[in-house]
Symmetry: C2
Subunit: 80 residues, 2 copies
Amino acid sequence: MLKATVYVTIKQSVLDPQGNAVQGGLHSMGFAEVGKVRVGKYIEIELNTADRSEAEQRVKAMCEKLLANTVIEDYRYELA
Amino acid sequence: MLKATVYVTIKQSVLDPQGNAVQGGLHSMGFAEVGKVRVGKYIEIELNTADRSEAEQRVKAMCEKLLANTVIEDYRYELA
């Protein structure tokens, strides 16, 4: 069994309202040192396969088709 | 300036409906090898400070007070 970890982040050029809300929240709680905040997703997937190179391709396909909206989001993944 | 990366994940003992939905979606798209899926948050925070040990404590406080719900979520962070 392999484990894939996928990180989905909003592209730098796209506004991140959730990140702005978190930034505002932290400021109002006294964390004045907080600059830009970006919020993304962190997805752990168990894969019932042992073929690493096939898994690599399959996880890429999952990201492109479902996990990330590639118009506004970037993704990267690790297999372990 | 330091950059903190925070990972917030749902505790193993807590149900993850979003993860189940993603798992179901991947199955119905033909990714039959997909086992358990867990969805968490990935937060990047710019910190306008150079004091690493102070930043460490401050980020821990941000996690405890705002970023994670420690009743149902775990968190970990890295400073770079």
